[in-house]
Symmetry: C2
Subunit: 327 residues, 2 copies
C-alpha cells in the first residue's frame, strides 16, 4: 500500500508539502496540488483515520457496550452517552451483546483493535476481559474490580419500592427477583427484603433468569400459576411489571383492584401502558450522560472528582397501586 513518501516521490515534492495538501494545513501552490492529486490517483493512496490513528494512537471514536438494546432502559442510557459525546466531537459506536456475555469479548477486541479513544460498558466485567481497553467507565452494571463507574442507588430504590407497597393494604406479596448474576438486581432485592423483613411482612420470592422480554413473560405466567392468592407484586424491572399486567388482563384480573404492581426503571413505555405503571425511576439518561462525561475527563487527562458515582432513584406514582391505607 502506498505511503505519503511514495506520493511525494512520484510528485517530485517534499513529504511536508504533500502532508500540507492532504491535511489542508497550509499553503500549497495550484501546480503542486495538481501533481499531488495525480500521484494520489496513480498510487491509490488513501490517507485515512486508520493510518492516522496508528500514528497518533488516538481516535475520535468511543465504544459503548450494551447488554440488550431491545430493553428500552439501554437506548435511554445510550442517548445520554451519545448526546454528551457527540457535542464534544466524538462518535459513539455500539456493541449489543444480547445478554450473552460471551459476545462481550468480541466487541472489546473489535474496539481495542480499532483504537477507540475510550470505552463505556454496561456489561458486567466478571465475564469479560477489559484489560485491552483504556480508559474504561462502567455504566449501570458494574463489576467488583471496576475503578470508574456510575449506577443508581438500587438498595435504596428497592427499599423505596417495598415501603411504597406497605403503605397499601396487601394480602399476598410476591417479590420477583432479577437475575442472580447481575449486581443491580441483587441490590434491588436486598433493598426490598430489608424493608419487608424489618416490617415482619410475609412474602414469597420467585426468580426470573434475565431481563429479556420472553423471560419476563414466562415469569409473569409462573406468578399466577404458583400463587393463586397473589394480590401484590414487587417487580425487578418495568418489563417484568408490564408482562404481569398483560397476564392479569388475559386472566381477567383487574389492576390495581385485584392485583397491584410496582415496577422498576421508569422506561418511557411504562407511562403508556394501561393502567400507567407506578414505578421506581432510575435516571438512565443522566447515567449515560454523566458516565460519558467521566470518560471524557479520562480521555483528556482531566481529574475525575468522583470515581464511583451513585445516582438517586425516586418513586413515580401512577395507577397500578391501590390508594394508601396506612398513614
Amino acid at each position: 500500500m502506498a505511503t505519503i513518501r511514495d506520493v511525494a516521490k512520484l510528485a517530485g515534492l517534499s513529504v511536508a508539502t504533500v502532508s500540507r495538501a492532504i491535511n489542508g494545513s497550509g499553503y500549497v501552490s495550484e501546480d503542486s496540488r495538481k501533481k499531488i492529486d495525480n500521484a494520489v490517483k496513480i498510487l491509490d493512496f488513501r490517507p485515512n483515520e486508520v493510518a492516522r490513528s496508528l500514528y497518533q494512537k488516538k481516535s475520535k471514536l468511543v465504544g459503548l457496550l450494551l447488554p440488550d438494546i431491545s430493553n428500552p432502559f439501554f437506548p435511554l442510557l445510550a442517548k445520554g452517552v451519545e448526546d454528551f459525546l457527540q457535542a464534544k466531537g466524538y462518535q459513539v459506536i455500539l456493541g449489543n451483546v444480547q445478554e450473552n456475555p460471551e459476545r462481550a469479548n468480541d466487541y472489546i477486541h473489535a474496539f481495542s483493535q480499532n483504537n477507540v479513544a475510550g470505552v463505556l460498558s454496561a456489561v458486567d466485567n466478571d465475564y469479560a476481559f477489559y484489560n485491552s481497553v483504556h480508559p474504561l467507565v462502567f455504566l449501570d452494571r458494574v463489576g467488583k474490580d471496576s475503578e470508574y463507574s456510575i449506577h443508581a442507588d438500587d438498595v435504596a430504590g428497592g427499599a423505596l419500592a417495598a415501603t411504597t407497597v406497605l403503605k397499601r393494604k396487601t394480602k399476598e406479596i410476591i417479590v420477583i427477583s432479577g437475575p442472580k448474576e447481575i449486581d443491580r438486581s441483587q441490590e434491588r432485592l436486598q433493598g426490598v427484603l430489608s424493608v419487608l423483613n424489618q416490617q415482619k411482612s410475609n412474602y414469597y420470592i420467585i426468580n426470573s433468569v434475565s431481563f429479556l422480554l420472553e423471560d419476563a413473560i414466562s415469569t409473569a405466567q409462573a406468578v399466577f400459576e404458583e400463587f393463586s392468592q397473589v394480590d401484590t407484586v414487587i417487580a425487578p424491572s418495568d418489563i417484568h411489571a408490564i408482562a404481569l399486567i398483560q397476564e392479569a388482563y388475559r386472566r381477567n384480573i383487574k389492576v390495581p383492584d385485584e392485583l397491584q404492581v410496582i415496577g422498576y426503571d421508569d422506561i418511557p413505555i411504562s407511562n403508556l401502558v394501561v393502567p400507567p405503571l407506578t414505578t421506581i425511576h432510575q435516571p438512565a439518561y443522566e447515567m449515560g450522560y454523566k458516565g460519558a462525561e467521566m470518560l471524557y475527563q479520562l480521555m483528556n487527562g482531566q481529574k475525575v472528582m468522583q470515581k464511583k458515582l451513585i445516582l438517586p432513584t425516586r418513586l413515580v406514582t401512577r395507577d397500578t397501586l391501590r390508594k394508601k391505607e396506612v398513614q
Copy 2:
C-alpha cells in the same frame, strides 16, 4: 511506533518467525518465543486490526446505521443483522442517528475510515453521502438511488390495514400519516388511501412529524382535540397506536368499544399493552437477517440473486378492533 521489523531486529530473529509467533500461524521454538515476548514488551509493540486492515484492506467489522434505537422496531431489525453476521464471524457496530439525518454522515465517515467490510443502513440515503462505503445494503428505509435493498411491502400493508378496518362498523375514520420524507410511511399512506377512496369511505388525515415517542404522544392528543367524533384510527406505527390507546385511557374512552385502533409494525410491546394491539406485522427480524445475508454475499464476491427484496406483511388480530360487521 514500533513495527514488526523493529521487534525482529531486537529479538535477533527473522520477520517471518515473529509473524508466525504473533499470528499463531506456525511453529516457533520456546526460546524464540521468549525473545519475541521480551522485544514486544520493550518496544510496546501492538499488532492490531488497524495495522492488519491497512494491509489487507478488509476487516471483520460491519457498520449498521439505525434511525433510532429507542423505537423497538430497530432493535428487532438489528437482532436479525447481528444473528446472521455473528454466526459468520463478523462484528456489527451500531451507529444510532436519533432520527437526525445529519448525524448519518459522521457515522458513514467513521465506518469508512475504520475500513469496515460493509455497511447496512436504515437511514434514508437522500440525506447522507454513502459514496465512501462499499458494499452497502439498505434496510427498511430505502432511497431512490439505492442498488441493494430490502423492505416490507408497505403499499400492501397499508391497504390491508384499511381493508381490515372497513370490515367493522365505523363512524369517523382518522388516518394518521407518518413523516412525509420517509418513503415507508408514504407508501403505507398510499396503500391506506387507495382502499378508502375505492370504497368511497369518508376519512380525515392528521400528520405526524416523526416516529419518535414524543411526537406520537402529541399526535395522539391532537387526534382527540381536533376530532371529537373520532371512533376509528389507522396508525402509521405501533408507537402511534399505543400512544393513542393511552390517551383514550386518560380521557376515559373505552378501546375498542368507543375507539378502535389498528397499528403497524407488530413490535414486541404491542402484544403487552392493554388491550393488546391489532396491527400489521412487518418481518423486522427477517428483514435484518436477509439484509445481512445480502451484504455477506456482496462482501464475499457472491452473486446476489435479487437486488431489491420486498417482504410481505400480514394482519395480527388482537383486541383493539371491534367485531367484524361486514361479511
